[in-house]
């Protein structure tokens, strides 16, 4: 027993992810000297910052035993709303407010059917994945909207605190807030409780509907925020902004050890998974592996990550036998 706590910790899923991450960073760092520079790391984050932000809230959604497939479409709808409203002559500040409100409305619409009508989130958000994207297309059709004010375009790129741009500051703030909510608050405990056994939670007096509704509205709002950040980063708005992002986002969360059936997982795991995926993409780019193959690799990763509980159980069983034999 003595002295084994560190090794025990490594035997958890987070520990395993940590080892993989260290390995990846070592490999990347050995292949290019630029890898470990601050600017490269920030650049790495920036290229996927929108997905990474949504992955944080998706962690809570999936722990709660639900799923939100409509996040990428909400991103698209919020971004196109922003562009459309801006083009109609409203100032960019108000356009942002309106776009965020659209995100809240989309989230609330999902929440209504899921929490109030009791229809599984998988189906509701699959339908809304199509519908919200459809509305985004209706707004901008085939056009692209550009020529936003300079301050808006610089939101996505320009460093405002040290080397960090706004989107990364938002990410870190959200990370801290969600960590506290999930790991240190009553709300977070209830979230896990509902995820592991909804009926028991309901009979214990937890207001399941209200918590589910809160989570989906938050998911809508944060997705909208991510959509606006995307628009700011690329400096233009099109109907197909963020198409297919839900795949990457869900992959990250599941890879982080969150069970697709709810009830288990941590924000720490998600953050480790984020770092792994970012480093993997960087590594693949260095190895000249193209975008489509990267998506394919992520698909394989996704399948492996739903097998996480299976792998983890097998690993722990193995670990226990090994320890049982040696001491």
């Amino acid at each position: 027993m003595k002295g084994s706590t560190f090794i025990d910790r490594l035997a958890t899923w987070e520990g395993f992810l940590f080892l993989v991450l260290v390995l990846l960073i070592l490999l990347n760092a050995l292949s290019t000297p630029f890898f470990l520079t601050v600017s490269n790391q920030i650049n790495l984050f920036q290229l996927s910052i929108e997905k990474v932000i949504v992955a944080l809230i998706m962690t809570l959604v999936i722990i709660n035993g639900e799923i939100d497939l409509s996040v990428a479409s909400i991103m698209g709808l919020a971004a196109t709303t922003f562009g459309w409203v801006f083009q109609a002559g409203i100032s960019a500040e108000w356009a942002i407010v309106i776009a965020l409100t659209i995100g809240i409305i989309c989230g609330a619409f999902n929440a209504f059917w899921i929490a109030w009508a009791g229809i599984p989130s998988l189906v509701v958000t699959l339908a809304m994945l199509i519908a919200y994207r459809g509305f985004a297309r209706v707004l901008v059709e085939d056009r692209g909207i550009t020529d936003f004010p300079e301050w808006f375009d610089s939101l996505g790129q320009a460093p405002i605190l040290g080397p960090f741009p706004l989107s990364m500051l938002i990410f870190f703030t959200l990370l801290v807030v969600l960590f506290v909510v999930l790991q240190r608050s009553a709300f977070g405990r209830k979230l896990y409780f509902i995820g592991s056994n909804r009926d028991v939670a309901e009979y214990s007096g937890v207001n399941v509907r209200r918590i589910k509704a809160t989570i989906f509205i938050a998911s809508g709002l944060i997705s909208a925020l991510a959509g606006i950040l995307f628009a700011a980063r690329v400096g233009s708005v099109r109907g197909d902004i963020g198409v297919g992002f839900e795949l990457d986002i869900i992959t990250i969360v599941l890879l982080g050890g969150v069970s697709i059936f709810g009830g288990t997982g941590t924000i720490t795991g998600t953050v480790l998974a984020i770092l792994i995926v970012l480093n993997l993409r960087n590594g693949m780019a260095l190895a000249n592996i193209t975008g489509h193959l990267q998506t394919g690799a992520l698909g394989i990763l996704l399948i492996l990550s739903v097998m996480v509980p299976t792998i983890r159980d097998a690993g722990q069983r193995l670990w226990r036998t090994v320890r049982g034999e040696t001491g």
């Binding site: 339908a127 199509i130 998506t295 698909g299 996704l302």
Partner: protein
């Protein structure tokens, strides 16, 4: 009288009747909105495009019946269309009959891969097929270097097949593609409703535990469902190739959502266990009709297509959920009614009589 009529119709048939009603309403509505709407050309165009989506949707519905979902079908269609097109282009003297067989076999392999992951490791099908959607597509892109198949490289019989009429009534042309697709749908329908092996799909979907206890091999049934879905997507890929001729690496993109739409709108319960292929046939026609008509409707832009489709799917699911809840509530309502009736008639009589009334 009305009561007996209503109770004789099963919820599934009721659903189909309601769908037919909506389909007719849609046609009537658009015929008042679009000039020259109701003619043979509309029929010809829609029947040909329904032929392809119907095959995919029938396969999808078998998977959905078992409480699963197959989101990879769009990528399978694209991959098969491209691959078969490439093979036919390289070996033009290949016997015609082998081409669709190759397409079906290839599709079935993809389906088996999905089915293996889902049934062997107990993984959620939505995640597995979301992943294979990306994997199959990325293999295609890698394998082709982004080049396209062109009509010119295909043998003539293949492109002519898409325009081959089985029979013609007036201006209405019924293509062979349409006939094949409908025959496949009917065969699957009969298989699902009349054969033991077909009923197993319903059993697994409505209660996997009970199915297991009843001696059904749940894993194998799920596997079969995915193989059927893959095989039909493969056949659809062949038709896709014949119809369009020019196949790019994005061929079939988004077909998975359209097929899920057709299945859900067609009244197949997304949580498995109930629904019929006939409903899916009407659902697919309705979705295609809406798409084609929205494009021609002057009042709204064609970009409304997806928005309408998404809301339609939601509407179908909401209707289903509330209908099945009412069905679940019905036995208790009936029992309660019987009890009050018994109480009313048996009130003055002694206890044993009341018990008898309740029992009947």
């Amino acid at each position: 009288m009305r009561n007996t009529f209503m109770s004789r119709i099963s919820p599934t048939s009721m659903r189909i009747l309601a769908l037919l009603f909506v389909l007719i309403l849609t046609i009537l509505f658009f015929s008042t909105q679009i000039e020259n709407y109701l003619n043979a050309r509309l029929f010809n165009r829609i029947s040909t495009s329904v032929a392809i989506i119907l095959l995919i949707a029938v396969g999808q519905s078998v998977v959905v019946l078992t409480r699963n979902i197959d989101l990879s079908v769009g990528s399978v269609v694209g991959f098969v269309a491209y691959f078969v097109g490439g093979v036919v282009g390289a070996f033009p003297e290949i016997p015609a009959i082998l081409v669709p067989v190759l397409a079906i076999a290839l599709g079935a392999c993809f389906g088996a891969f999905n089915g293996f992951l889902v049934s062997r490791f107990n993984l959620p099908s939505i995640i597995v097929t979301l992943a294979t959607l990306a994997i199959f597509r990325s293999i295609l892109v890698e394998f082709t270097d982004g080049s396209s198949i062109t009509t010119a490289s295909l043998p003539d019989w293949l492109t002519e097949f898409a325009r081959l009429n089985a029979f013609v009534v007036g201006n209405f042309r019924v293509r062979w593609m349409v006939v094949i697709s409908i025959v496949v749908a009917l065969v699957v329908h009969v298989f699902l409703t009349r054969f033991r092996a077909g009923r197993q799909f319903y059993a697994v979907g409505s209660n996997p535990e009970a199915a297991r206890v009843a001696g059904i091999n749940v894993g194998r049934t799920v596997m079969q469902a995915f193989v059927i879905s893959g095989a039909l997507a493969g056949l659809a890929g062949f038709m896709f190739l014949a119809r369009f001729g020019n196949i790019t690496i994005v061929a079939g993109l988004g077909l998975e959502l359209k097929s899920v739409g057709a299945v859900v709108v067609g009244g197949v319960n997304i949580f498995g266990g109930s629904g019929s292929v006939i409903g899916v046939l009407i659902g697919a026609s309705l979705i295609d009709l809406l798409e084609t008509s929205l494009v021609r409707w002057a009042l709204v832009s064609e970009f409304w297509r997806d928005a309408v489709l998404g809301m339609l799917i939601l509407l179908a699911v909401v209707t289903d959920t509330f209908m099945s809840r009412r069905l679940l509530a019905r036995p208790t309502a009936k029992a309660a009614a019987a009890k009050t009736a018994a109480d009313n008639t048996a009130a003055p009589i002694a206890a044993p009589g009341a018990r008898q009334a309740e029992g009947s």
